[in-house]
Amino acid sequence: MDQFAVKVFVRLRPSVLDPAGEATKSASIKLGAEGIKSLRIGKMIEVKIEGNGENEVREKIDLLCDRLFANTVIEDYEYSLEKL
């Protein structure tokens, strides 16, 4: 069995309004930060997972992302994977 560290990034789709991102952008500008064109908030999920090789682990992570971590009606996901 190999062990992998996976980082999953879940983001609202570009077409979906992100009010929390808008509010944070507004606060960033009030802080004096200049030049912010866009600010959107997502989430990152860290998973440690065992499996027989990278392909099998990718299959598991794909299922988790598609069915649980993200709601693909409003969110996109991507992930990076590192063998431990």
């Binding site: 077409s15 979906v16 009010p19 649980l68 971590f69 709601n71 009606v73 409003i74």
Partner: protein
């Protein structure tokens, strides 16, 4: 109301289950039974309400964890048999997360938790959930949500419109929902999800009775 029992689902974090039961039993004389989310035996209920609240603390996304409960897994056959399912607020979020209804519900546009009475236009008679046969085309119901902004893509919206699946629209959109949508049904009409709370509008002493018709229609075949 003899021989008809409405199952009221209780998730960890549900908080409108007792209100729904009170409205059905106390105002409409319809028998109810609480169904714990780990139960998958739906054989002795004739209709089901998924009440409002914060199932599983709304962790990850509203309704996302509830979707994997044994009860929701058993709901597929129940819905296919034509029996009626009403999802209110968090119940609506669970119905979209689990694919019984299209679209998704996400954070209100202004990020506020909105607790207010809203005016709603009755759009579709699908499923007979609303009394839109008479002169009354507008009803007033309370809302109480932080994540009630209905979102769907343009293809889904077209399908909702073409198939008359939009049940309710806000007169003054409070949360940024696509097309002012407050409630939708499935194609068969036996599943309704809505953000407003009909169970909180079942007695004049607490502000109105516009929710009675929807709860009463649970007993329709």
């Amino acid at each position: 109301m003899v021989n008809f029992t409405v199952g009221v689902v209780v998730f960890p974090g549900s908080n409108c289950d007792r209100d729904v039961s009170w409205a059905l039993e106390g105002c409409l004389d319809i028998r109810t039974k609480y169904l714990w989310h780990e139960s998958s035996d739906l054989s002795d209920v004739d209709a089901i309400v998924l009440p409002g609240g914060f199932s599983y603390g709304d962790y990850l996304r509203c309704g996302a964890i509830a979707r994997f409960s044994p009860l929701i897994n058993a709901l597929d056959d129940f819905v296919k048999s034509g029996k009626r399912v009403l999802g209110i607020c968090n119940g609506f979020q669970i119905l979209t997360e689990s694919g019984f209804l299209p679209g998704a519900l996400t954070a209100n546009k202004n990020l506020n938790f909105i607790c207010d009475d809203v005016e709603l236009d009755i759009i579709s008679s699908k499923g007979g959930w609303f009394n839109n046969g008479s002169e009354k085309q507008t009803i007033k119901l309370p809302i109480a949500h932080g994540e009630g902004r209905y979102h769907c893509d343009s293809d889904t919206l077209k399908k909702l419109v073409d198939n008359e699946l939009i049940a309710l629209r806000y007169k003054n959109n409070p949360n940024g929902s696509s097309f002012d949508i407050a409630g939708i049904t499935n194609e068969k009409g036996n599943v309704l999800g809505l953000m407003p709370h009909p169970e909180r509008a079942c007695d004049e002493t607490i502000g109105g009775t516009d929710g009675l018709f929807t709860l009463k229609s649970l007993i329709l075949k």
